[in-house]
Amino acid sequence: MILSKIMHGLYLKIYISIVASSTKTHVSIHTLKGNKIKDTRVKVFEGEELSQNMLSFIHSFTSESPFSYISFLDYSLHQGAVPTCKVEEFLKSSHKDIYTTLCYDSWSSYTSKIDLGMLEKKYSSLGLDFIFSPFCIIENFFKDKITMQATLYVLIQDENISIAVFENSKLKYAEFADIKNDKLESELMLGDEKAELNFDDDQMSVNLEDIDVDDAFSDLDDLTNIQDLDSMDEFEDFTEIKVGDKETKQDLVNTKDEEHSAGFNEEYKRFNAIKNALKTYYTDEKYENNFIESVYIATACDVDNSLKNYLEEELFLKVYVRQVDISTEVFDLAKREKI
């Protein structure tokens, strides 16, 4: 024990935090001498695969000290958190065995065992030491706020969103959603898949009977803010498809879809996820609910102001937005782990 302490004192401690998404991977490296941070490096790699560049970058630091710890933020789609340590009360009994659960004081987080195994296998050449739930990031980042009355806390990442309700430091509700999810995408792409735009090579025309306009635009019922509709010129443009040639029509559809996606759509998806989460929180009897007046958002990516507007104007919430460096938060969690 004493020898171990001496060894820890002699060597540098290197904490490597990896936050991955499908497009890029953030790797941050914190070098500690004792308890003081000696050096911090951050590098972003394209894609989520463990590239040779990433490996050599990480190895260049891990080779400096035997006490290097690699932390990872769980991005499994099959994860969440429940306001009890008896996870089986919330999860279906058949699901109980497929999740790895971790109990904290009064709440638990869970994640898919398969995803966890795949993650460990994927990073086996590095050897992961810690895998954290994004809900722990929320708890840690808002530790000065969660002691308050029931409040909504949101962690926004490039591709997913973690939503939690804390009241007096106790988790009351949690939801993890992937905003790049195909299902959600399809719902929000104005039902274009359902429309099945059948371009006939010979006739170069669109079978308008196949376009289910009502269904496709059903999600727009939620958009009560009329100003947001200003950006939705797509409805008019969409009509042009009927008269153009095939290429023009295709280009137009693609271009408009991209704009749609990249524009308000992403914020709308986030808004939608928050709204659905709140709806579940208020309606599901499993959760003890209290009225939520405010929402604290920790955002790790650039978020349009429209999300704040949606929440304020649609859900009448007081919105506070903070920027968060997730890799630093992951490092903070890793540092507090017993090693």
Binding site: P66, S71, T111, I131, I339
Partner: protein, 172 residues
């Protein structure tokens, strides 16, 4: 309280090869120390036995000296005893010879035999009997012979004969 789904892997400060080398050195040093300890113990027990043997040697030496001393004493005593026995036998022989010298007619009442002298007291019927029968052989043995006579109550003569040998005669 842990927040991680997995536990950190144990960190090796020393590589496997280094561990092997260290293990080898540790075993070697341990064996050296054990050998050193064993030899030290052996040396200690050897020294102990040397001291014990030295003590025993001294004891035996003392005992030998004591025994030699005792042997010497015994030899001396033996010599003395032999000498006494010889002297006694000489004396016995002398006494026997002396008494053989004394004729039947002369009666001895007291004989004192010393180293270089013989004193005899007795009675004789007459001075002539004494001079012829006893004084003559005494003169042949002793260098000096003095005899004094005095009248006894029964008419005989009591005599005291003092005979001495010279020192030279004794040395012979």
């Amino acid at each position: 309280m842990t927040r991680s789904y997995i536990s950190p892997k144990s960190k090796q400060v020393i590589s496997d090869e280094m561990q092997l080398v260290l293990l080898f050195f540790t075993i070697s040093i341990t064996m050296l120390f054990l050998t050193y300890g064993f030899l030290k113990l052996k040396i200690y027990t050897f020294e102990e036995s040397v001291v014990r043997i030295e003590t025993k040697k001294v004891e035996l030496k003392n005992s030998t000296l004591k025994m030699q001393h005792q042997i010497r004493i015994i030899e001396q005593e033996s010599d003395r005893a032999e000498k006494v026995v010889t002297e006694n036998s000489v004396l016995k022989e002398s006494v026997k010879n002396l008494f053989d010298l004394v004729p039947d007619r002369i009666t001895l009442s007291e004989v004192e035999l010393n180293k270089n002298s013989l004193v005899m007291k007795g009675t004789t019927p007459s001075k002539e009997v004494y001079e012829f029968l006893l004084q003559a052989p005494l003169r042949s043995i002793f260098n000096n012979t003095y005899t004094s006579f005095y009248q006894a109550q029964n008419g005989w003569l009591s005599f005291v004969s003092t005979n001495t040998l010279d020192d030279e005669e004794l040395l012979k």
